[in-house]
Amino acid sequence: MRNVAVVGIGETAFGEHWEKSLRALAVEAGIAAIRDANIEGADIEAMYIGNMSAGKFIGQEHLAALAVDQAGLVGIPSSRLEAACASGSLAFRQACLAVASGEYDIVIAAGAEKMTDLQTEDVTTTLMGAGDQEWEGWLGMTFPGLYALMARRHMYEYNTTREQMALFSVNGHKNAALNPKAQFPFEITVEDVLNSPLVADPLRLLDCSPVSDGAAAVIIASEDVAKRFENPIWLIGSGQATDNLALHDRKSLTSLRATKIAAKRAYEQAGIAPEKIDVAEVHDCFSINGLVALEDLGFCERGKSGKFVEDGNIERGAAVSINTSGGLKAKGHPVGATGISQIIEIVKQLRGECGKRQVPAEFGLTHNVGGTGATVVVNIFGKELKER
């Protein structure tokens, strides 16, 4: 397989874009990526687009054709990938595999979601499609509810505290305050989290990522082509794994097996240990999932994530800078776009383009979760191409 690099990035701001349609958001992100790479649309040989549920959010299927059509790229092959909130990362991985295989030299991988056209109750119902509809969704379960079951169990098994979970959201907001693309660019306190309304005990509103609109796109090139670009960021490791769809079928509620499998594969491919990761975007759809990710990705010991966060290890420039973009909580979570957006933040960190939220970084990681962990993708990026 050939090496691949990200040579262009572009995204919309995340937020409640009542004035913009899904197609407008996708095209905006795509054009930004093409402009950043300094290529022509005609250079793009194929498109991969991640989207969770346009069919339910806006009644639109066949996103792959819609996206090339609206972008003026009709003719090229285009595919839509779906794995709930990990859809963007699936699109990225398929795009990378297609380039690595030798089939294409330059492709675009995008992710887009338009969520705010629905009322909150319907968004909650639609998102529950990422779980097991016959045995979780049918009885009125929700995604905050599923993660609340994990949080309760983590508190029970490891004495993780409410304050420790809150600190994960606080860290995200602190970083989002420096990110002009973030939905919530302001700081919050632990008290704010603990005083926010209960959504699904023990999770409160400020433990939860928001309902968002947004799109993100990256241009991926093969090694020979990428070397002609100014600042290619190399994909040096990538893993994707699955687990039982329904939460109650899992052996553990306090660890995502799919994260562990995907991370092991990515670390092995990259030939580096977790300690070498300087900056990571982890999937904090709910604060508890941020904590669990720190353990499953090997940044801290099992059951010790609360203490790890409390000791300041995830702040900018600390042991590992976590969610410098703001994360899903504060940057926003347009589900299909999130995986690509995480990759964009890591590419910007490795390029040194993050301005006030820039951290010293040689290696960066993305961690994108579908559902309650039934699909997980982990990618590792480096500034230099590692000889294999």
Binding site: T126, G137, W138, L149, A200, L247, H248
Partner: protein
Amino acid sequence: MVHRSSVPMHWRLYESRYNLVGNKCLVCGEFFYPSKIVCPNCRRRGILKRVVFSGKGKIYSYTIIRNAPRGFEKYAPYVVAIIELDEGPRVMGWIVDSKISDIKIGQRVSVVFRKIYEDGKEGLIHYGFKFRVIDENNQLRD
């Protein structure tokens, strides 16, 4: 707007949901609820047999849903838990008819037959299992 169920969908599942019918693999001995189509351990070599579960178990984790999805708004807040059945598998269900102070991890519970939700004014009324707290001797708490 959002599709949740249809008559055949409900009909396919009613025995399982009304009577807590799952299955067991005679080769590896593991119990499954809901029923597996293929034993995940033995796959094609597994032999699956219908099993009616006792409906007794204990709370593995629980939450209180306060922001309900469409169709459940009028029931909120309600308690949803993962129950570890005595036979082994874990299932998801509501906890009802119990004092909130009795709901904790490890607490014994027993299954009850209840309405789950209504598909609007003219749609189906869906029934299934929920759970309630019992004591160590499997007796209901007053």
